[in-house]
Each structure stands twice: as C-alpha cells, then as structure tokens.
Symmetry: C2
Subunit: 429 residues, 2 copies
C-alpha cells in the first residue's frame, strides 16, 4: 500500500493487503470513505442510498474475523439496479420509490460472503437507460458523469469508494468511466451472475465494475467468477499485438477523441507493441442499429409492468424508445441475432491474430448534464459479448478526461487484464 495516501484513495488491492496484514482496519477505511462522501456528496450526488452506521457495523464485524478473501473489509458501491436486502433499490425510477427487495442479488451476496462491505447504493439513470439522474461530474458540476452507471463512476473517481458495480447494455460502464477518468470494466457476457439484477435487455445486460486500478478490476472478478489470478508479473515481458480499431463509427468521435486514440497507438508502438489497423467494415457497420433493435425489443417486454401500470412515471425519452421496441418484429430481432453471430465469428478470427483491440471509449469528453452522452462506442462490443476495459488517456478541450478502450477475446478476460495493464503502463510513459 501507498502509506502516504489518505485511506479513501487507496486501491482495493492495497487496502485488502493492509487489512490482512493488520495495518489497516475495515472500519478506518469505511470511515474515510464516509468522510469523503460527507464532504463531497452535496456536489457530486453519486449515492441513491447510504446509511453510515450500517456500513460501519459491517466493517466492524469484518474486523473481528480473519480475512475471508482478497476482498475482505473492502467497501463496495452497488448500482441501484441491483437488489440489496437491507437497502432500498429504486432502479433509478420514481415507479419504484422506496422499494426494498426481500433479498440480495447474487453479486451482492457474493461480496458479503467474501467479506466485502456494502457501502451503499449508487445512482443509476432511469432503469439503466439514458435519461439523466442527479449525479454530476466530480470535476465539473455542469457536466454529466455519463450514464447509466453515473453514481458508480463518479463515486469511484471522487475517491468515495474504491470499487463499485456498474451495468452495461449499451455503453453504461465504459462511457461514464471514460468521462470520469477511471477504469471501467465490462466482463465477457455473463461472467458476473445476474440473479437479482433488474433486467432491461437480458441478452445484453452485463454487470461489471468501476475501479481506479486494473488490478482492482481483476481482483473482484476473480473472486466472484472463480477466474485464475491474472499474471500481472508477466506484464513487463509482454509485447502485445494490438489492433487499432477506429470502428465504423469513427466519424462520431470528436477531434480530441480521435487524436487521443491515434496518440495512444503511436505511444504503444514506440513502447514495443505490434500495432496494426483493424478495419471492421461492411456488416459491422450495422451493429449499432442492431444493438438498438435487439435491446428495444427486449425492454419493451422487460418493462411491461412499468409501461402498462405507470406510463406517466416514465420519461418521454424512454417512453419513445419503448414504443419503438414494441414495433420491432421477432423476424427483425432474429435477423439482428443472426448478423451478430456472424460478426462474433469474424471478430473471433481477428482476435486470434491480436492480443487486444484498441478503440475509442466515447465520442469525446463529458457533455453537459442534459444528456448522459452518446453510447455509440460501446454498442457493438456489448453485442459481441467481448471483455472491454477503458483506461484514462488524454483530455478534451475543457481539460476533462478521455479514455481509450481495450477489447479482449471472448472469455479472455484474464489475458485482457494483463494486456490492459501493459498498455496502461506504456501510456503512462
């Protein structure tokens, strides 16, 4: 651990090691996070629910036990579309105001089993879609932290908590992480169990994490999914083969985002990576609209209770997406699935010749709070079920963070962590 840092700024990996070594208590760590929240929450508004005494009492219980896992004593923020049995879960919607589930989602119960502390619920946009909620960008209150994992990204960026769960259906982990300058990790589809997640689009919804280090993203997925530990000691010996993938949506990135990705590619080549262009043409260009058709078809159905009982409590923008979803025919849906399966085979082939792809994380820096930003650079990767991780790199015209997205092969999350860490270190110079 970096002893000079305030506790709330320490990474989860370092904090857990310090707790296991008896040099830090979970209570002190949680208290430091709560202090930070106390000082900053009025400006950032990252939390949908927090009960300091409940968090501290969990921490004290953990301090009375030997470590259960590498997560022991670590506070974790839970996006408010994931059920918690001891805290409200409102799915970012007034329809569910005050709702308290009767049990924990699988990933929450797993964190508790592993000795983690559930710090509180982080703000989600409405049902994890695009309609903004209250959270502000930690560096500029006129800007969005991105969505839909708004509170998770802002809380981690502002050092209120070292790890928070997010979810991604379009670009809801990668985009806010890039805007806020943290590590956003969307696992291979299905790696974190989804029992107790409020479904929007079940063939796409993916639980992932927001952290400040690559090692922390690896730590939590390894503990939850039973993955082998990523061999970070091999990082210095890697010379990854990187595919620079501007994607068919390159024109939707602004000048700063384009320059950032191109700069990253040059720096990585100079550091010894093999970097070549990967041009995903023709069919891949239809994946964005395919993602929209497939997800809309599904959320028209998933939100039937809400759209039939409480239409007046659904935002106009979501209502119009739901209505569009009701018009997608099963035949159109199946055509989208078939296209996706063809593209999955093709990207699997591409990833046999590359250790990772490098792509934009978002079209630019965080826009103003009227929107949560454009998910365009997440859609195809979510549809393709590949593990993705965004690294902070460069900044936009206002000085706000930009990110570059590292994409690994399907179920190749462990290798992706090592390659992402190599890339992070090379970009840090």
């Amino acid at each position: 651990m970096t002893a000079s840092l305030p506790f709330n700024q320490i990474s989860a990996s370092d904090a857990a090691a310090a707790i296991a070594a008896g040099k830090l208590t979970s209570e002190a760590l949680v208290a430091a996070c709560l202090d930070r929240i106390g000082a900053r929450e009025r400006a950032v508004q990252a939390w949908a629910f927090i009960d300091p005494e409940l968090a501290l009492s969990q921490a004290r219980s953990r301090d009375r036990e030997p470590p259960r896992s590498r997560l022991h004593g670590i506070p974790v923020g839970i996006k408010d579309v994931i059920d918690t049995g001891d805290m409200p879960t409102e799915y970012g919607s007034p329809i569910h105001r005050g709702h308290r589930p009767h049990c924990d989602a699988a990933c929450v119960a797993q964190v508790r089993e592993l000795g983690g502390v559930i710090l509180g619920k982080t703000v989600s946009t409405e049902f994890a879609t695009r309609h903004p909620n209250k959270t502000r960008h930690p560096l500029d209150p006129t800007r969005t932290p991105g969505g839909s994992s708004s509170g998770s990204a802002a809380a981690v960026a502002d050092c209120m908590v070292p790890i928070a769960f997010g979810t991604q259906t379009s670009s809801s982990i990668i985009r806010p992480a890039a805007f806020c300058g943290v590590i956003g990790y969307k696992p291979s589809f299905g790696l974190i169990n989804r029992a107790g997640l409020k479904f929007l689009s079940e063939s796409l919804d993916t639980i992932g994490t927001l952290t400040r280090t690559v090692a922390d993203a690896a730590l939590i997925i390894e503990e939850l999914a039973g993955l082998p530990a990523a061999p970070f000691s091999e990082v210095p010996r890697r010379k990854p083969r990187i595919g620079l993938c501007r994607t068919p949506y390159w024109n939707q990135a602004d000048a700063a985002a384009q320059a950032s990705l191109d700069s990253a590619a040059r720096v990585l080549a100079q550091a010894g990576a093999r970097v070549n262009d990967v041009d995903l043409a023709d069919e891949f260009g239809a994946l964005a609209e395919t993602q929209i058709a497939v997800s809309s078809y599904e959320f028209y159905r998933a939100l039937t209770h809400e759209r039939t009982r409480f239409p007046e409590l659904i935002s106009a923008s979501l209502a119009s997406r739901i209505a569009a979803g009701g018009k997608v025919t099963r035949t159109q849906y199946e055509a989208g699935v078939a296209l996706t399966e063809r593209c999955r085979k093709r990207i699997d082939d591409v990833l046999r010749d590359h250790d990772a792809l490098l792509a934009p994380s978002a079209p630019g820096e965080a826009p103003t709070i009227e929107s949560t930003g454009d998910p365009i650079f997440g859609l195809m990767w979510t549809l393709l079920q590949l593990p993705c991780l965004t690294l902070p790199y460069g900044s936009g015209p206002l000085g706000l963070p930009l990110g570059v997205q590292v994409i690994g092969s399907r179920a190749g999350d462990t290798a992706m962590f090592v390659n992402a860490e190599w890339i992070r270190r090379a970009l840090a110079g």
Copy 2:
C-alpha cells in the same frame, strides 16, 4: 369450440374464440376452472396459491372489454418461481415463505396486458430443482407429476386451467408434461422474456408452457414474443423429414419408453414422413455432464443469498448439488461452454437436413413420489437451446402416459409447431 365439453376442458384457443364471439364469458370459464380445482385440489395439490375472488374479478373486468388479443379472458397458471405482484411467490422454498414481490414478472404483466386472467400460482419444486414438493400425479396419487413444473403439468392435465407457465433448466417442462400426458413446450432459449423469473442457471433457464393442444402452445408464444402465426392450415400437406434420435442416453430409457419411440417412428413413416436415424455420437455423449457442470456453477452463485443465510432450509439433495457447483472451476465451465458451442454447430447442420428430430421425453412413466424423475432426456436439448415439444404417445406398464419429444431448429419454433401438429395427428391415426 367443442360445445359439448365442460368449459374447463376446452382449449385456450377455442375458449378465446368463443369469448370473442360472445358465446362464452371469461367469468364462466374461470368459474369452471375454479370448480374443478375445488373438486380435485385436495388430491392433486397443484396450486401454491389461489384466490378465487381475485381470479373472478379479473375475469369480470375482461368481460366488460372488447378482446385485447387471442388470449383475452383465458385463465393462465403461473409457476411459483415467476413473480406476481398480487400473489405470493415462494420459489418452492421455505426460505421465501410468504414473500410477495412488488411487481409482476414480464411474462405475467404481458398476459395481463393481452387480456389473460392470472388464475393462481402453481407448485414448483425447491427453486425449480429436483427436490419434490407436494403435487401428486392426477391419475395416481402415489406417483410424481414430474418436476420441476409439477403444479403446472398436473393442473393442465387435470383440466384445472388450459395453460400454465413452466420453466426448464434441465428437463422441467418436458418431463412433467410427458408424465402427465400433456403438451410441454420449451421454446428456443430466450423467446419468453425472463425479467422477474427467479434465476437458477441463467444461461439455461427457459420459460415455456404446459397446454393440452399444440395450437395453444403456439398461441401464447406468438402473443408474447411477437412470432408470426404458425400456418397450421399447411399441416395436411406436410411430409416432414424426421430424424429419429435415440440420443447417447438411450440405455437409460426403459423398455416401454424405447418401444414407444420406435413405434412412433414406424407410424410416422407409414403416414408418409421420411424417417431416418440420427446418431449423435462422441461429443454429444458428454452434454449431460456438461449441463450439470454449467448449471451447478451458476446456481452456486445465483443462490448465494439462500445458501449463506439459510443453509438449514435447503434440502440435502440441493445442498449437495450446490456444494458440487462451488467446486466447478471457471476453466471447467468455459470448457463446457466451448463443447456446447461445437455441438450447436453440428446440430444446426443436422437440422438443415431434417424438419424435426424425434427423441424420448423421459425414461419411462412417472415414478413414485420420492423423486420427480430423471431429467436425462432434457439436458442436452436445453443446453443446445433448441425448441422442444413433448406429445403424449403410448403408456407404460402401469397405464400412465408416455411422451415423445419433437425438437426443432434454433429459433425455428413456428415450423416446429406445424411439424409437431403433423406428428400429433399422424400418431393419433
């Protein structure tokens, strides 16, 4: 409609047509079902919850409206692992006794939107696994109705309701339907939206139906998923190409089940079908153990809340399966997924040359109530995500029903209905 039948024995399709034509009221239909339940529930014990007045009031509301869909006014039973906002949902476990979800699952809300009547909750085994619950076989109270959709199969077989939702992770729709002598339909994976389903194994759990006619199975899936109407008028002109698939597990079928399948194949060939053997050897033989590894890995995680908080309320048999699931490594899980994907490609090839496969539905007739029967003949088809439908055919040594399973190509549910109906008529002679 068949006017001479008591209302509770009419199919959903016929009843809905009669309601639309003003010849039957939903109230009279629901009342007839409730009368049947009143007469038979003590023996069959198919229902986890039923509130006659709540069902009748829904029916009266529907009778005051023009038909909303082809399901208008039709009573539907809901397996008790699917959330209902106005009825308890206990997932077949004492851990969740008295639990009342705060909103309807997607498929329940869709049935309401379509004008259907939620008649009540049907008994599930513990978390839709194998440990028996209270339901008895309608024809023999010493025998199991099968599981895990025990109540749904028994209620439909006993003419307490024309349609009930079931779920299948292993063989939990096909097996009880075969035992009870009704139509069990497991759709292509994901066809019925799963928001609000209690997850056991999210990559396998599939919502489907129990009905007494093939047309009724088609009706409800068409309305829920937006599928085109199955062209049953084409049935007489079909001469389907049928692959007789004894499966790698043939030796686990008893003499009666083997004779029944072989007899069905002969009858279909005599009726004009092209019937040839499909021998799924080598890798397919490992699919049963793969299904067990993949599902156990997932339900160890999905049931974390229950296994960590209430271990004493979990049956010994489920506890041992959960413990085994905790020992499945992610590497083993991924190997199972990879094998499954290879077999999916191979079965897709087989199904390009065949309109349907014909396979055993269960190892024999219903065993005694200490078990819910062996799921062996469902495991591989669930893993392969193919649409499956069991048709009653023949009987066992005790005179209880046997079934044959019709399997269609992935996302080919509409064609499967037409082929299954051709097969049903041919088998009826």
